[in-house]
Symmetry: C2
Subunit: 262 residues, 2 copies
């Protein structure tokens, strides 16, 4: 069946395991350009976080708009946009901020993604708004900072072009890696990384426990949540680890809220 | 001197040996996006062929327009835009046309460019208008057809994104190749490829000779010029070869136009 084989060829095996996430994009032309390059390189999962409604509507209803703008998910927070991702890359330039997580340069991305897939994981690439990029808070949901090597005199890229370059890199290098004999067998499922939503659940529970234990004054709450998110992503517990830690903190919290009477 | 070293770092050694050529771009936003990505990846030579004047003016005078739009060369034909290039890549999709020259996929471009530089050559990347891309006639000035591997269901890329992806590929892979020990010493200068304008001179002279010899009916002229251009680019004579062939045809033409009386 030539039609079926064409469809298979046009949707690579990894296309469903990578989410493209745009945080508060402003320019409808940029949104359209992102969708266009996703279609060019065979990506199909787009999530938009807190879009500016009129511009989002304009992008969706533009002449020639891609089908995947129609099927894009809209979420109000970045946490809700990353329910099942196990490895989240936040994109941006290094300057002026000091990175709080490991930095990956785009030409080194494909082998990392390949290894995460081998562990049964799921990837998200997060792109910030045109003007200022991802905030420090957005980045606290990201395991890695992904940078595109650019000229120090003009480091900041147009959103549609940055997305195109990232997707090109993955679409052109992942198939080469998949067919190379180096890639070993997939490890046991227990090795699967915890999802972003599991980590968020854990963050919430640990934070509640900190408060219940009187460890953190309420005024410190936001800063602690930020550091906690980053810490958990740095530790990168697998799914089983995360379940255990969750169980432990559920017990701790229960005990803290119901002190023994003896 | 940290300032000087920063300037050097931001202008890679090959940046001056690659020309970016846009043929009749229409959309001022696309022109701006091309300039932006050239600045992002350290490229500085932009030539625009037969631009639509009001849109070109609009792109040049846009707020935040790149300096290199100011210094861009404007030429009325593609031939005039390629005076000193020794290896010209025309970009485009393979379908529906049957390629008349060798096809290079973008992930394989950097080693070819590196080898051409080692011969003392100069590269041009030519991008066609947004709507229909490069014409068959445009492509007859190109040694190779450069394609970006895309999804067969949506193969055609936005101009600004296509340029960004090509420049990213060169900017990220050329430095790796330059520092690798594989690259041998530069060959003798006699090995330098003939420039595009030398080949055009030769094409004209051979064509004149064909006419003078009664080989080609005048009606066939355009088709012959097209095939001749492609033939010379396929043969890829070096600069010395080209001078010799030019000399031969000058003599032939002189003889044809002044038949011996004996």
């Amino acid at each position: 069946m030539p039609v079926a084989s064409k469809l298979v060829a046009s949707k690579p095996s990894w296309a469903n395991s990578i989410d493209i996430v745009l945080v508060s994009p402003r320019n409808p032309l940029n949104i359209g350009a992102v969708a266009r390059s996703m279609a060019n390189f065979g990506f199909c999962n787009l999530t938009v976080v807190a879009p500016y409604e009129p511009h989002w509507h304009e992008a969706q209803s533009a002449v020639g708009a891609e089908d995947l703008l129609e099927s894009a998910k809209v979420r109000s927070t970045l946490a809700e946009a990353l329910p099942s991702a196990t490895l989240v890359f936040g994109t941006g330039t290094l300057e002026p901020r000091r990175p709080e997580q490991p930095v990956v340069e785009l030409p080194a991305l494909a082998p990392i993604v390949r290894d995460e897939f081998a562990r049964g994981g799921r990837i998200a690439l997060v792109f910030g708004p045109e003007k200022h990029g991802l905030t420090r808070d957005d980045l606290s949901f990201c395991h890695r900072l992904l940078t595109i090597p650019t000229n120090p005199r003009q480091p900041s890229m147009n959103l549609g072009q940055a997305v195109a370059v990232c997707l090109y890199e993955l679409a052109s290098r992942l198939p080469q890696l998949e067919s190379s004999p180096e890639s070993g067998p997939a490890p046991a499922p227990s090795n699967t990384a915890a999802t972003s939503s599991n980590l968020d659940l854990l963050t919430g529970l640990i934070e509640e426990s900190m408060i219940a234990a009187g460890y953190s004054p309420r005024a410190m709450q936001t800063a602690n949540r930020h550091d906690l998110r980053l810490l958990l992503r740095r530790l990168a517990p697998n799914a089983k680890d995360a379940r255990r830690i969750l169980g432990l903190f559920r017990r701790i919290l229960w005990r803290l809220n119901r002190p023994r009477r003896d």
